[in-house]
Amino acid sequence: MFIFRLILKNALRHKLRTFLTILGICIAVTAFGFLRTIVTAWSAGVEMSSVTRMITRHKVSFIMPLPKSYREKIQTIADVDQVTYANWFGGLYKDPNDWKNFFPRMAVDPETYFDIYPEFVLSEKELADFRKERNACIVGTKIAKEHGFKIGDIVSMDGDIYPGKWDFVVRGIYKGKDETWDETQMLFQWDYLNERITQQQPTRQGNVGWYVLRVKDQNAMPAVAREVDELFSNSRAGTKTETEKEFQQSFVSMSSAIITSLEAISYIIIGIILLILANTIAMAARERTREYAVLKTLGFSSVHIVGLIAGESLLLACLGGALGLVLTFPISAGFAKLFPTFFPIFNVEDITIILAVSVALLAGIIAATFPTSATLRTKIADGLRQIG
């Protein structure tokens, strides 16, 4: 009890120094937590991948189309349970330079897409309305909230990949099955896209962006991938089939340099936390050399001295760490609000909390190591001679 009281009193001896140290740790932990959240948000798509879904795309590039006629052939493969397709639309909504106006817009097969993606949660009525109106669309809760979309609203946008003015009627607002599901997408009927393209650019009609396969047995995935790709190996558009996780991973790996940089910066921040704390604790321990010598003279053991120095270090680290962690949440929420579609899933993950707490505790322990060791090595007689 006395040790705790003395730790607290020692920590409050130089209030400004203590405050600045805690503030330094707090800012560093916030930055660490925020950067880790960005890193986890970047790979959120990989994490939410289904273990029974596979993607078949053009073997040259994701942006090259595949004939819609492939669907029937893929469906004949024994282990394929169901096949759907989708097509990236793009488009420009309002001011394209505003991040808020950028959200994924895709043409999908209204009859099968939601069977394969049960993560989109919407009412039966909404789904039925969507299926029966050619230019109907479904939007995610987040973008509906962001742009004030309501059922029946007309959403107009200019096409870029598919030129022209496009009008969509909102017939459903979906929710994700849980917080890990992206609620910023807009989905509309592939037929609407195909009909317009057939009129305007007939050579582009009848194509889809990629196929989504649901397999019956997860273990059959390698065989399915092989069979699908062999099926179209001599076609004008060869395919590449992979698991949904691998497909998502390929997107993440395109940004691997950025992610690696962010990870490196987050580790540098750990070093900064350590230096801030180590500096304070080393200064404090040096100033109190004589006091520690007096305690040792009075019979206090090395354990008491270690407790005093490490305790103060841990106290500052924990306070700074806790404050930093608490701040990470509103800052991350603010960032997510500012760029709602840039990172559709932007949550402070449990692993980030665990890492931030561990980093603070580790910094507290390491920062105390050298001052403690130096204090224990100092002979009482030498310590008593020290002028603080």
């Binding site: 006091e291 003279t297 009075l298 009482i380």
Partner: protein, 227 residues
Amino acid sequence: MAGNGFVQVDKVSKSYQRDAIKVEVLTNISLTVPEGEFLALMGPSGSGKTTLLNLIAGIDRPDQGSVVVNKVDIDGLGESALAKWRANNVGFIFQFYNLMPVLTAYENVELPLLLTRLSKKEKMEHVETALKLVGLADRIHHYPRQLSGGQEQRVAIARALVTDPALIVADEPTGDLDKVSAEEIMTLLERLNKEFKKTIVMVTHDPRAAEKAHKVMHLDKGELTKG
């Protein structure tokens, strides 16, 4: 052996390494302090007075020779046992008081008792008695910065005697005090010796302080002579 005293220092030598230079501080020193003695050690700066005091108090170890206090060869004790021995047997008074600045007078005096198994109530009684004895019962919740030098030294004396040690070592207890305060402190030490039968070994430069001791010894160039 120098005799059967309460403190027996026998053929003790001590040197320090200062960078590349080895400084011989004490060479073959022997000293006997009987129980209940009030001994003053005098000598010029650097003569080894404080080093000898540190050896007697068990906060330093001799290179050669032995130090026996109350029949305990303290050189034979390990670090932990020596720390316990100091806590139970020796009261320390320093020139610059060495109080913990963040603790009140009460908490400073209580410090040595935290290593005992006394109950909270017993600790409180001991602390209050010790502070009353040094005349500071009304300054119990004052911090060192709120006390005068003389008062701080009295708190230090209360801390030294709160565990009722048989031996009190004082290193220049009046060195940082004015004449009046120094006189008060010496009267207090004299009282501890006479009334409470404490064996006191005191290092001092002050001849007036030394006058209060039963015996004065001079240490110069490693040689100990009776004053």
